[in-house]
């Protein structure tokens, strides 16, 4: 598996975050919770071990990347904005 960033350009980061937030809020957020670009995804238990796989899959689908094992680090998936920084803006 390899990861080369690049299908999305800098201008796409905003759209990526927006799309991710709408997916997260529809599929993941518990009732009454709204996930924002800077919401920590792990600290408050929003994302568990299965959800992280969905998050990786969703990010791969949106960017066209294959995320290598060594990039599966919580630091890279801390918040939606961080995910965009790592995998979209690059």
């Amino acid at each position: 598996m390899s990861s080369t960033r690049g299908l999305h350009r800098r201008a796409d980061a905003g759209a990526f975050v927006e799309a991710m937030l709408s997916w997260l809020n529809e599929r993941v957020a518990p009732p009454g919770v709204t996930i924002g670009a800077d919401t920590p995804l792990f600290e408050n238990g929003l994302i568990d071990s299965m959800r992280i796989l969905e998050l990786i899959a969703w990010t791969e689908r949106e960017t066209g990347l294959t995320i290598a094992d060594e990039q599966v680090r919580m630091d890279n998936f801390r918040t939606p904005r961080r995910i965009a920084e790592v995998f979209v803006v690059g």
Binding site: S49, M50, I52, L53, E54, A57, I67, E70, V72, F77
Partner: protein, 594 residues
């Protein structure tokens, strides 16, 4: 009395040993069967101690050795692989030379890669630049060391067979590996009736700049060797136990989650030397090899298993098969320097090659067995220290409740898998070990006085709530996947909790529980693999079951406790378990179903 020299001479006479090239030994017959049995014992040791097996190639990049500072450490050993030029004219001239072998040797291109002097370099190269938690690997392979003293068949080969177990992680984990490795090796030597001694050692570093490292090794006791007697007052280093501290972590930029360089250590066994020491003590005639019955170390039984056909041993002595029985160790067997700890495992049960799966799992369970009474230092618990981490104790309480649920959960699994004898055995073992976890955790919470204490009424209430739920007919595969992944996450839960527990008795106990959970996940994995091997149309169902996975603990507590939110290693290995079974990347499957 046999010596290394007389054993080798005898094997040469019988045609069981010869050297096609000086320093490269070939074996056949009983000597080979013994060699294979030693290999199998070491592979089993690695497996039982939860070292995942790697297949590593027989070549190693020269750059990897440079990165490991090999060239100022052991350049004198280096052997490399080179090939001929692709140039047709050069090939033509070799082909037509009157002495084509000599011409080929002279026409080789510069070496393209090294032949590995040790296997652990593969691990460091593979992990280079990564952040790791704790990575273990084991491999067997051929290693090459060109030693100036010259070769001696089985005692010092230009190439030899190494079984290596490597741990990359925290300094404490590495120190433990080295300690454990010394015990495993000493116990194996005992089982085989070999005279042994474990001593501090150092590597023969080459460059003056590297010689300081040898001194450091001695002073800090970073390297030990187990030496085996090979007669005539001689001994050989047959296993080594090495704490590299952060040397390779620095060289290869392997880091721990907290940013420190990872520590590494390895335990390495030389298969030829174990074979030689055995032959010196017991002689080359397999009929005289010790019959240890079904007690651990029944080399004869394993020799038969590896031979697959009748050996001399079989033709002269009746096979005792796999029934219990003991025969005293042969004369000359040493009483040993490192006795096995109480309650520890005493080796492997020999089994025929077609033994059912449950035999392996029962043996693994036996080897990993620990006692709530004997192996937990109840009297040394630091009560105040424990109560200083109430949050951790709360999670421990939830874990105890989940462990108490096995009679419900495993009963369901037993019913749905009633047609699988292996499954029945695995679940029975797990039911007992799960009970032990519950017993130990609850007792710990009671000893430290954690409130609220667990009551019988509470346990029954939990069970009653789940009484009517059963695995739907035909749902065995999904139930097994759920169980495997629950146990997998449980192993990480207990391991992380052990890392965080400041109270040492608890930390030790949690490590024991975590090791049990690894075995449980593996047995479920084997049961799933067996079903897939029979019917590969189950693969999509395994993938679906993994993506819709719910921990069975969610039936017990409102929120299944998590020791480390976003545990990346737990998650990667979670996906890895499914990928190994299905041959499909789990994320790709999730992607298709988003």
């Amino acid at each position: 009395m046999w010596t290394a020299e007389s054993v080798v001479a005898q094997l040469r006479r019988e045609g069981e040993l010869w050297e096609p090239v000086p320093g490269l030994v070939a074996l056949r017959g009983d000597a080979l069967h013994l060699f294979r049995a030693v290999e199998a014992r070491l592979a089993e040791l690695a497996r039982s101690q939860a070292f995942p097996e790697w297949h590593v190639p027989s070549g190693l990049a020269l750059d990897t050795l440079a990165r490991a500072c090999y060239f100022d450490s052991f350049p004198h050993w280096l052997t490399a692989a080179a090939h001929l030029s692709d140039d047709p004219a050069a090939l033509e001239s070799v082909a037509r030379a009157p002495d084509p072998a000599g011409a080929a040797a002279r026409a080789l291109e510069p070496a393209a890669c090294a032949l590995p002097p040790a296997l652990c370099y593969h691990a460091y190269a593979r992990l280079a630049g990564r952040t790791v938690d704790a990575v273990r690997m084991s491999a067997q392979g051929t290693c090459w060391r060109h030693e100036a003293e010259g070769a001696r068949a089985l005692a010092r080969g230009w190439s030899f067979t190494m079984r290596e177990m490597v741990h990359v992680g925290s300094p404490e984990e590495v120190a433990r590996l080295v300690r454990d490795g010394m015990e495993w090796a000493a116990r194996l030597a005992e089982e085989l009736g070999l005279r042994h001694e474990t001593v501090p050692a150092s590597d023969p570093f080459f460059a003056p700049t590297a010689k300081g490292r040898a001194l450091l090794q001695r002073v800090k006791e970073l390297k030990h060797e187990l030496r085996l007697d090979i007669g005539a007052g001689e001994s050989v280093a047959a296993a080594s136990f090495n704490d590299h501290e952060s040397f390779f972590g620095d060289c290869f930029d392997i880091r721990l989650a907290d940013g420190r360089s990872a520590a590494s250590g390895c335990v390495a066994f030389g298969v030829e030397r174990w074979t030689l020491a055995f032959l010196v003590v017991h002689g080359p005639d397999s009929a005289r090899w010790p019959e240890l019955g079904a007690t651990p170390g029944s080399l004869r039984a394993e020799v038969r298993a590896s031979a697959g056909t009748a050996t001399r041993a079989e033709s002269r002595a009746p096979a005792t098969g796999f029934s219990p029985g003991t025969v005293p160790l042969p004369p000359g067997a040493s009483p040993g320097t490192v006795p096995p700890p109480p309650g520890s495992s005493r080796g492997t049960v020999p089994r025929p090659p077609d033994a059912p799966l449950y035999v392996r799992h029962a043996a693994a369970s036996d080897r990993g067995a620990w006692s709530v009474e004997r192996d937990v230092a109840w009297e040394r618990i630091d009560r105040e220290g424990a109560l200083g981490q109430p949050d951790l104790l709360g999670r421990l309480r939830d874990a105890a409740l989940i462990e108490s649920f096995h009679p419900v959960n495993l009963a369901r699994l037993m019913r749905i898998c009633h047609d699988d004898i292996d499954a029945g055995v695995c679940f029975s073992l797990e039911a007992y070990e799960g009970f032990k976890h519950f017993h130990a955790l609850r007792r710990y919470l009671d000893v430290v006085g954690f409130e609220p204490s667990i009551t019988e009424e509470e346990l029954v209430r939990i069970r009653e709530g789940s009484q009517d739920r059963d695995v739907p007919p035909g749902g065995a595969i999904e139930a097994l996947v759920g169980f495997m992944l629950s146990e997998h996450l449980a192993s990480y839960f207990f391991r992380r909790l052990a890392e965080r527990a400041r109270e040492p008795v608890l930390a030790d106990m949690l490590r024991l529980i975590a090791a049990d959970e690894v075995r449980h996940a593996q047995s479920a994995s084997d049961l799933i693999a067996k079903r897939i091997a029979r019917d590969d149309s189950l693969v999509p169902r395994v993938l679906d079951a993994a993506t819709s996975f719910r921990h069975y603990g969610s039936e017990v507590v409102a929120e299944v406790p998590v020791a480390m939110p976003g545990d990346e290693v737990a998650i990667r290995t979670f996906a890895g378990r499914i990928e190994r079974l299905c041959g499909v990347r789990l994320v790709d499957h999730v992607k298709r179903n988003l």
